[in-house]
Amino acid sequence: MEQAFFLADAELQEALAGLSAQADVWVPASDARKPGLVRFRRFQPGLTVRLDARSLVSAKEVLFPRSETLLRFTKEKDLSVPAGHRIHLDDARTVRPVVVFGCRPCDARGFLTFDPVFTKGPYRDPYYSERREKTTFVSLVCRDADAACFCSAVGSGPADPEGSDAQLIPVDGGYVLRPVTERGAALLEPIGRTAAPEQIREAQDVLDQVGRETVGEGSLTTLAEAFRARFQDPAFWHAHIDKCLSCGLCTFVCPTCYCFTITDEARGLNGERIRSWDACMFPHFTLEASGHNPRPSKVERYRNRVGHKFSYFPARYGQVACCGCGRCVRHCPVSVDIRAVVRDLPAQEEAHA
């Protein structure tokens, strides 16, 4: 660790307030009415910041809001044109710099699934890309894995710096801040003081120790072929998915699920075109205008969810579309476990006959 800063616990609020002067700072924070519920919120002084707790929804909504206005439109009556009205469009937007502070390595890594799809083309998404370019991720080295976590099984780990611009490493009395990228270094310089050699040593020990931990069993990264072989095995999919309720919870809490819908929401002569989260587990997701639905039941829908993350996406982009955060497992109303489904893909067929 060449360069590092120290931030004492007591200075956290002040540091976040300092960062907020130039950027929107998003932190995991507990809800006033439900202290156990931790979500990413825009920092403001007095907010109960919870770096110690895993957040329910990932940091996805910071760069990919649940609902965002793409453009506003106004209809103006004009009988001189054949339509009887003219449409005025306004797609002006301002993008503020953003800091995601205190997310877990899995949250930061989740955006590595978004990036090739939204920023690399053939269609570059300006809304995501513009925000992405102005976002800095400071992730906390994670020592809170639970039974649902499996980051190591997707090629990551609880100290993974990939996707992060800086790392927060918990040490006695506070955190050592370690820059990973130049952007991370530029962000940290003003808020921390240079860490003492013993703090750096302690941080390095934590980093080494957490880095050696394995969270989740085996590897789920090489099953693209097994998925294709399993595709037409209804008994397999029924055995795993009969219990699924086909709600959208798993996709909404997921850091890598990026599917959306675009709708025009108008009242009278004014309205806006918005982009909002959609979920492949919903029936309307693939409903065609003819009324035909190529994924008529939860079995086809869930199979697609597994296929997208562990087969189609890796075939196209060379990486699985899963960061192993475990939210889909942890929060599922009926505890559907995607790890078990993916792990069983290559298993003997007889097991599910």
């Binding site: 055995a239 709600c247 709708t263 009926v334």
Partner: protein, 316 residues
């Protein structure tokens, strides 16, 4: 537990499959199990963590089941059995195609309350339940926690711990916590002024993610893939993230359950952001009780009050 396994073992040749619960990814999370072979039966578990109401699966599984003449076995708690009753009442489930194993229920656990009550946060390796005590084992040892301390809200107001409409009841009857319907949580919200109440619900509902887990876990939400919440033609709700559309969805959900909700509390249990959405339905259940002396799902032969018309009814 031994009785449950032994009972189903003896009957298994006459059953197409058994729907029960098995240990999920950790012992704290029993998950619905669809057991299709005799060997699978050994996976069955039954304890106060078996929260999911399995009656939600019945209309779908009966529709898809092959006509083999064999029945479908299902394990139901008291509240789950009322949902079955309502599904039979409305013609979604043919009772004679089921073999219903009724399990008197001591109450189910609120996972958040349990996490708070536990001293250890280490992953749980084993769970057992006896005499009102949950024994939770992890690498830090075994902790005993009184079920009464960590009960789900729905179970605190339960007056049907003993299943109705069952073919067999396995286990001793459980004395109900309530003998009279209890609406004290609804009362608490109704005691607020209109402005306070509006602020309360706006704050609660603003957290809604619109994941529709509440809808999909509801055994009486029978529209399934035809829900108006996602319909664009006609369009009832927008895709905006504001509280206005969330409010509208939850109001429609509650009104569609008027005189139908069996108060199993699944909508509230599955909500990832902890909105007390069951309160809306409890309010509806109270109106049905006061207006018609009607409790959904208790009498499979009764016609739900909003699905009939009686000119002699007064007070409406």
């Amino acid at each position: 537990m031994d009785t449950l396994h032994a009972h189903l073992e003896a009957l298994f040749d006459d059953l197409e499959l058994v729907i029960g619960w098995e240990t999920g990814y950790e012992p704290l999370r029993p998950t619905p199990a669809f057991l299709r072979s005799r060997e699978d039966l050994s996976r069955l578990v039954w304890n106060p963590l078996c929260a999911p109401n399995l009656s939600v699966y019945l209309p779908g599984i009966l529709k898809d089941a092959k006509e083999t003449g064999k029945k479908i076995g299902v394990c139901l708690k008291g509240c789950d059995s009322r949902s079955l009753g309502a599904l039979v009442q409305e013609g979604f489930v043919e009772r004679e195609r089921l073999y219903v194993v009724g399990l008197p229920c001591p109450g189910t656990v609120d996972p958040e309350a349990l996490a708070e009550a536990r001293k250890s946060s280490a992953p749980v390796t084993h769970v057992s339940f006896r005499d009102g005590l949950l024994a939770i084992t992890s690498r830090d040892g075994t902790e005993e926690i009184e079920l009464e301390r960590v009960l789900a809200r729905r179970c605190r107001r339960c007056r049907h711990p003993n299943p109705l409409h069952a073919d067999v009841i396995l286990g001793d009857p459980v004395p109900p916590r309530r003998t009279e319907p209890s609406f004290s949580d609804v009362d608490a919200v109704e005691a607020m002024s209109l402005e306070e109440r509006r602020a309360y619900w706006e704050e609660e509902l603003s957290r809604c993610l619109r994941c529709y887990a509440c809808r999909n876990a509801c055994p009486l939400c029978v529209c399934r893939d035809r829900c108006l919440a996602e319909s664009r033609t006609p369009k009832w709700t927008t895709q905006r993230d504001g509280v206005r559309d969330k409010f509208l969805f939850h109001m429609i959900h509650a009104l569609h359950l008027a005189g139908r909700c069996t108060e199993c509390g699944e909508c509230e249990r599955v909500c990832p952001v902890g909105i007390p959405v069951a309160l809306f339905k409890e309010k509806m259940a109270r109106i049905a009780l006061e207006l018609w002396d009607y409790q959904a799902g208790t009498d499979p032969a009764a016609t739900p009050p909003l699905q009939t018309f009686d000119p002699s009814e007064t007070g409406i």
